[in-house]
Symmetry: C2
Subunit: 736 residues, 2 copies
Amino acid sequence: MKFKTIKAIGLTALFLVLSDITFAQQYEPLLLLSKSEAKNISQHLGDYKILGKSFSKVKMDADKALEKPIEVPIPIDNGGGYTHEKHKKNYRDLYYAGLAFQVTAEKKYAKFVEQMLLEYAKIYPGLPLHPKRKAEQNSGKLFWQGLNDCVWLVNGIQAYDLVKESIGPKNRAIIERDVFRSMAAFLSESESGKDTFNKIHNHGTWAVAAVGMTGYVLGDKDMVVRALTGSSKDKKSGFLKQIDMLFSPDGYYSEGPYYQRYALQPFMVFAEAINRNQPELKIFEYRNQLLKKASNTVLQLTDSNGYFFPINDALKEKNFMTEELVFATNIVFENYSDTSILPVIQQQNEVSITGAGLKSSEAVQNMKKQEFVKDPMIITDGPEGKSGGLALFRMDTKKKDEQLTAVFKFASQGMGHGHFDRLGIMLFNNDREILQDYGAARFLNVESKNGGRYLDENKTWAQQSVAHNTVIVDEKSHYNGDWKEAEKQVPHTVFSDISNPKIIQIASAVENNAYAGVEMQRTVALIGAEMPFVLDIFSLKSKEKHQYDLNFMFSGQIMETNFDYVPSLTNLTPLGKDNGYQHLWKLAEAKGNQGLSKFTWLNDSRFYTISTLTDDSNKVVVTRLGANDPNFNLRNESGYMIRTNDKQNYTFVSVIEPHGSFDAKLESVQDPHSKLESIQVLKQDENYTAILVNFKNNKSYTLIFANKETSSTSKHKIFLKGKNMEWKGSYTLITN
Amino acid sequence: MKFKTIKAIGLTALFLVLSDITFAQQYEPLLLLSKSEAKNISQHLGDYKILGKSFSKVKMDADKALEKPIEVPIPIDNGGGYTHEKHKKNYRDLYYAGLAFQVTAEKKYAKFVEQMLLEYAKIYPGLPLHPKRKAEQNSGKLFWQGLNDCVWLVNGIQAYDLVKESIGPKNRAIIERDVFRSMAAFLSESESGKDTFNKIHNHGTWAVAAVGMTGYVLGDKDMVVRALTGSSKDKKSGFLKQIDMLFSPDGYYSEGPYYQRYALQPFMVFAEAINRNQPELKIFEYRNQLLKKASNTVLQLTDSNGYFFPINDALKEKNFMTEELVFATNIVFENYSDTSILPVIQQQNEVSITGAGLKSSEAVQNMKKQEFVKDPMIITDGPEGKSGGLALFRMDTKKKDEQLTAVFKFASQGMGHGHFDRLGIMLFNNDREILQDYGAARFLNVESKNGGRYLDENKTWAQQSVAHNTVIVDEKSHYNGDWKEAEKQVPHTVFSDISNPKIIQIASAVENNAYAGVEMQRTVALIGAEMPFVLDIFSLKSKEKHQYDLNFMFSGQIMETNFDYVPSLTNLTPLGKDNGYQHLWKLAEAKGNQGLSKFTWLNDSRFYTISTLTDDSNKVVVTRLGANDPNFNLRNESGYMIRTNDKQNYTFVSVIEPHGSFDAKLESVQDPHSKLESIQVLKQDENYTAILVNFKNNKSYTLIFANKETSSTSKHKIFLKGKNMEWKGSYTLITN
């Protein structure tokens, strides 16, 4: 396998090179911005518009910082509190002043950095662990968690790198000893820090980047080797192992795009520093240009406004305009000359003040406005690409600039930030969430909300299966809500195909370990039609009887149902007792229709209907989030659930259908009612499933697929509706 | 009084002129687009960008219409249903084809209009009242309500006006007789139509505009006179009476901005037609250029994105980009040469294909991007300007492009679309609703939602007092929810001042008739400070004991309170039985603090805190909308209520304070806690109120005001904190 060979070469080469590094102590910047690049930037501030804009922001912030007295408070506060925010501001001020010094050559900026670092030197060595540390998280000294200390160091060492040429030997010695060596030791060698430093986790990446960059600047070979190969230097951890383990061959990061964005900054920034100091490591070629794929994949995992799909613990406010991705896109462009990324840089409308930023701003200077191309993708998960994955279906509607995106997740757990969302889906219309994932329950840095940390409801609701668009068995979450158990098992891709993206995009995956003795298989297809629709077949098999709940967290206002329901008008009670169910108010209950149960809502300018095959043994429940929420921590999202009881084997077959339009400006409404006529299961046995979907305009779609893995060239034949149907590969779609 | 004189002159002149009109039957267009203007447009499509864009949209729609067979179905459906939408589409197609004919001179467009009108001629005279008509609303023939028939005619007659030159005499006769005369007779003379035609109401305005314009085109003097002076020609109704009665001297329309937008189209379009056919009426000068003021006022009553403040029955999706206001702004510019309106036309990025649109597109062609200036305003209500009004407070914060707007409403009822929101306030930060008004409960034209009409919940919730940010007495709505009673009484302005807009904007108003025996006075000030804040003093006086509820419908997520509350974790019940209270779930309850009760929420990038003086006899309730809502018609908004029981006289004193910031991109949070230290009532007697507000930064603000009306030059003196305070006018603000 090609990938393995290259990885092997990478490691061998690294080993040779590492044993051979010598550092000449230099006083010119060594990390992301060289002296000549800084000069070049100062000469082109007027030429490259976004460079000028970005630098003037940096300089303005630096100037503001210089106006105020330097303050380095003894750390006492939680996230969002005064000292927390002050130390964050300090590392930004340091970094911006460092940049301003290199670009303007004005000594006052360097002086500011020197003085502030001397203040840190006074307190840092004597600081105890942070008083607001939490038992379950590794503590920092400046901040309640060690992670923030690492981020401080990534910024602080760059600031020092940029100005050290102007600091005299005595102060250099103080700063290096009492700030940088002390901090690097704390973060990579102390009892408290070492653990995180060696973790295969984004916290670990920030730690190794911080320490590794410090190593380059201080000329400390040992620090660099530790950063690259782990504190035992056994390559079982460290930066390279992190690249190996945290990304799939397609560049998917198991914690999901929100954390991928966050982790990408130290990955890319440290890689850039490595490449500038040890180009012979060819870090950007490592693992088939993995860092390029990782950047592209995270950019693809966004809605039409660049907001990350809220997979796992994710805050929905984040998009690819954040600083982390400004660094990443610039570095990708610099090192891979990849012009496909330029539209993103254009949208970011900001560059990093680095060599990479200089090249990027030049490239977009005279470029016409372009859209970043968002394609359907099948993204594998796992270091070997064998731990399931993610299907990203995208189809344009006939309306200009309208794209539907269905995300089908059959990926691995994503460690402690992972959600119990096996075989879950999401649906977007451009930037609108239609079927949503709650993301994380957290108000980042808001002191009044649990000190800005994850809220209790993140565990009790957001991570639970019922917070997702998937099936929940017996009101328990997948893997009983134990992420360490979940981490041991991965879903399996049965087949996927996006080769005819205008006709059908499809994937089928199984998850056989989420519940003991229950096999789950979901097949999701986005099918091209007058209006693209999702066909969703969720099969459950078990020898025991269970309750199966197919849940949809929809967003929008309920418009109509084709079944009668009993609303709870004057008394709400929770849907269940535990596993997230305790947070859902039961708003209405119904028996399923004999045939199709339809549920229609309005979101912005479109109607959406979920139509599910049911009979009167099904229960249908409408829910709203908010029960058992004493601190008003939850958003009050809406849910729709189709339930069946006492079943061994059961298959939910649904069509999710955007339809019609609502135009407030023109006061015009089209097709507020579902256009689906019927769904029929033509066949379902051990080997094959065949579903016929009829629309009211007499168009029909028959999807037939093999339930088990089969080669793309295998031939299949089944007898259906009095005819022999033959096809090649895992599935076929017949349109009439 | 100047205004009265001018009005008198207007009417006299009109009388003379009306008795004197003669019409020469013309075949060239008479209404909004003359033959030479059309030619001019066709020559400048390439020169004036927004003209070219606007016309190509019109032409594209006309071309699409021409491709399909003409269909004029027998009316059967409700709003949003097929025949409803089809007849709406038909009048648009007619109008666009008419415009396309005049601008391109291509006969096919005229032929299309002729043929479609002939189809209407076949069915119209024989049509019965619409089968889906409602007892309480006047019926149309093409549509369920007569209003839509009027809108059809406003468009249809313009289309005919534009193409009649190319129709032979025989077909002209058929069309005029069986479509236009028949329709005008139905709308202005039939039992069903006459009532609306003579109403002082926006439905009436659409009716008189439709019939009046038809009169000009058919050369029917009687129709025109009827339209201008009412069907009895006694000037007790008709267009001029509508201008007199429906607007205040400041151009406020008693139904509120949402309906003002809607009514403005027939007002402006008909005025333009009048001005082109009877310029001697000087309709644009009428009532001190009332139509110009009306246009400006409605544009001012919008948030930073041009969305109308949702006063009374209003849908929040509407902004000043709608077609109605494109007509209005263009006509204002043409007739008043008012360049202050050009930034709105620029934002609309569209013009009407009329003489006015031509002039407007020329004016904005080379204009730099400008912002429409939004100023603080005191807007009087009532035909004489004596029925209370609306205070529109606006203050910029220190953040770039951030403006706070507080709306204080002490206006008249606004007829059947009015809400029971006496002395209510709203608060906006740019386009974000911070303290909101629900607007109307309606999904316009969505058939599945009560045929697109107002929902039951509009009466049971949206119009009720508790849906607003005001005081509710004994859980009953103002005027017991009877709009006809409410229509008889108006609030009274005690004083208002916006002359030092950066320091303080203030208004005080009383409402003594909403509840028998209860005098209500609210004084609201937006005060300039490090961050502007609202000081809100709501006084109630009664000889009987009552329950007083000060309600705030806030939007955002609750962050913290400084009082302990008991949350309803596993069981929700409604707050009350009736008058809107039955729709509020009670989420939490608390006793007020001794001193200040603080309630903080987050909305977008700011925190907001309401701090109210309380003691432990106050109850505090947190609510959420959604109880007793069997059809899921309501949005689930949030409420916060401070209650007091068994009180005769009581004053709620609150500070509403934006503070801090939440920046997801930078992950930075500032000042999540209220910065208010204390509120003190220094004095409150029959004549004066004095309130001291202290912030934690030691800034303090003392507001002293006379409770009763007093002249702006009167001198006042009170003894306060051991000192004599003297000032001139209704109030003074002392800042330390």
